[in-house]
């Protein structure tokens, strides 16, 4: 087995693990958004949400899930743009929730 094959085998295992953990990651993002809804002025909670989306975007892209990575990056950018606000309105929260719902819809539509 050559070096590239060793890498591909290990990479594919990590990719399968990522796919298996995707529902947990999405749940964590949902929970984080819920926490933001409960305390809209809490900057730490908003940063947590941003980091979860940032992580999903980066990881998905590196595992070859390009569209998922891009979708997550779009929501991440929207969250980042809202970071300058002292508190998020219900409308802004609803917008992020809608974007997340669409993201999940896309993920489950792509799964075999």
């Amino acid at each position: 087995m050559n070096v590239n094959q060793v890498f591909v085998n290990k990479f594919n295992q990590l990719k399968r693990d990522f796919s298996a953990q995707l529902p947990m990651r999405l749940k964590a993002i949902d929970d984080s958004l819920q926490a933001c809804k409960e305390q809209p002025a809490d900057e730490v909670r908003r940063q947590d949400l941003y980091r979860l989306l940032h992580s999903l975007g980066g990881t998905a892209g590196s595992f070859g899930f390009a569209q998922l990575g891009l979708d997550a990056r779009i929501i991440e950018s929207e969250v980042a743009a809202l970071a300058q606000c002292s508190s998020w309105s219900e409308q802004e929260m609803a917008h992020i929730a809608d974007a997340l719902a669409l993201l999940k819809q896309h993920i489950f539509a792509r799964q075999p």
């Binding site: 975007g57 990881t59 590196s62």
Partner: protein
Amino acid sequence: MNRTKPERVLYVEDDPDIRAVAQMALEIVGGLNLKACSSGAEALQSAEIFRPDLLLLDVMMPGMDGPTTLAGLRQMVHTASTPVIFMTAKVQASEVAYYRSLGALGVIAKPFDPMSLASQVCQLWEQNVMPDLSKSP
């Protein structure tokens, strides 16, 4: 001295999945000797013993981000002038210019292609560090 790739790379990335992929890519595909750290604080602890000749830093990390980690490493004797490459999703011209102003050899965009990550690192090394090394006695 005319090394075509770094001998010891200190790599810092907080996301465990991305760290695992990059570590495999750099070690298995690139044949690099890597010390992977999950935080800037761990990197500061590891640097003195590992004595890297290249730093590969994620930019956005909780606690100490990449630039803050670099500032800490610059305070240490063995990494005061060690070449650095940043890895980030933020690669607009102004952002890249900022990382270069911190002394970065270059920036590797995330998400990265695992199969070409090591060659990207070695290319930046060859372009920026090898010319200097070849001048040294």
